[in-house]
Symmetry: C2
Subunit: 231 residues, 2 copies
DNA sequence: TAGATTGTTAATCGATTAACAATC
DNA sequence: TAGATTGTTAATCGATTAACAATC
């Protein structure tokens, strides 16, 4: 039974994986603008990276360009979609329908990109039955049922921080192995489960750090001219 | 005028800066639980990183621990806050009050962390005057006024993709140099302006990539036992 | 064939990690 | 003093970039 399988399935670097959706977005925009072909420089500019990085990234997927010509927009778009798995349909369940969950449920960017929200769950009984984005809010207890019925592999947590870990635990229990966490807390999961965290406050804090530095740097560089005779 | 200034102000690696808010969150939780002291291992575990990385990260700020003892929670909390600039108050303006903007305006995580939303702006006249999170929605044309009046340095874009670039351009014009972009599009800014992008669809796509790989890997590892005699 | 642009190489840079000397 | 834990060193790993040979 010891059969060594060598797959074309090369592991793609994490940094590259994180940029593929950006390239895809840029290609979609080009496609909308009826652009049929683009060079690595054009695509890189649209995606906000340099062309060397773009070419290196794409080289991990295969050779989908033509030397001297560039890339066929439609073809590359398809290849990237296939690589990230967007040619299939991903059923998603959203737990916690507060302001953010509401926004996520209504976010068209999900449905247009192969993600289908199949259920909205909330622990608050008083909200059950309420219709958001065409779906009835259901009880959190229905999680297992929903996952089995629709083959859900991806769960989104948009609950308050205190509830996040227990929601996560239950998700893992019923077989979800990919979790997008919007709750402002770190959740722990067993081996084999992926969590990505989107932390709005952290993003602002990182900006604040840089903003602070800009101010300090400016002060140090002697913008004192301005204060020289302000009285 | 050629004065070389050597500041204690060492440049902190980007990867470290991005983790400081996470450590701060963990320290806040410990503080809430009345924990006075913690080891690098405890804090690292709470933050979801290994202790070597944590210690290395903290070493960029200074020596705030005690060998043989660990870190004083309150003291370290203060030091990190100061480093990221959270000991001061950051006025923020949010543009685009759709579902997401609404959620952001109501997000308590901002206000509790030194960020103060001073204005909500929207291009849609029919929404002006509507009160969200205690603030009246105002015209986008008021941006310059708002920024000057409150000394806003950070702007949040929560508009549809098509509007994002022009909103961004105007923000830069009136002096904003740090932008958090939730619109699903890449925006370009002049040198010296920082943009962080939070892309909900990209996050899901990255998860989908890994989810797909898990399934493929599993199939390759011979879960064929299951399919052996399914007919 | 000449011009253009990819895909790849190799050098550089930055981040992670393990191990341990310093020191409370 | 003995035990514990930090802060730092050095080795390793992964990501970025520039340059260019391959090739359309």
């Amino acid at each position: 039974m010891e059969s060594v399988i060598t797959v074309s399935n090369t592991r793609i670097p994490e940094a590259t994986v994180a940029r593929l959706p950006v390239y895809l977005r840029a290609l979609n925009a080009m496609s909308d603008a009826a652009t049929t072909t683009c060079s690595s420089l054009e695509l890189a500019t649209a995606a906000g990276v340099n062309s060397a990085k773009l070419r290196k990234d794409l080289s991990h997927l295969g050779s989908y360009g033509t030397r001297g010509v560039g890339y066929d927009v439609q073809y590359l778009r398809y290849q990237i979609s296939r690589e990230i798995g967007l040619t299939q349909d991903w059923p998603v369940v959203v737990v916690g329908i507060g302001n953010l969950g509401h926004a996520l449920a209504n976010y068209s960017g999900f449905s247009s990109r192969g993600f289908r929200t199949v259920a909205l769950l909330d622990a608050d009984r008083s909200r059950h039955g309420e219709v958001v984005a065409g779906l009835e809010i259901r009880s959190f207890e229905d999680l297992g049922e929903v996952v089995t019925e629709h083959g859900v592999g991806i769960g989104v947590i948009a609950t308050p921080a205190v509830a996040a870990q227990s929601v996560c635990d239950r998700m893992v229990e019923v077989g979800i192995r990919s979790i997008l966490n919007f709750a402002p807390t770190i959740i722990s999961v067993p081996e084999g489960v992926d969590v990505r965290r989107v932390d709005l406050a952290s993003e602002l804090q990182i900006l604040a750090y840089h903003e602070q530095r800009k101010n300090t740097d400016q002060r140090l560089r002697g913008v004192d001219e301005l204060t020289e005779d302000a009285g």
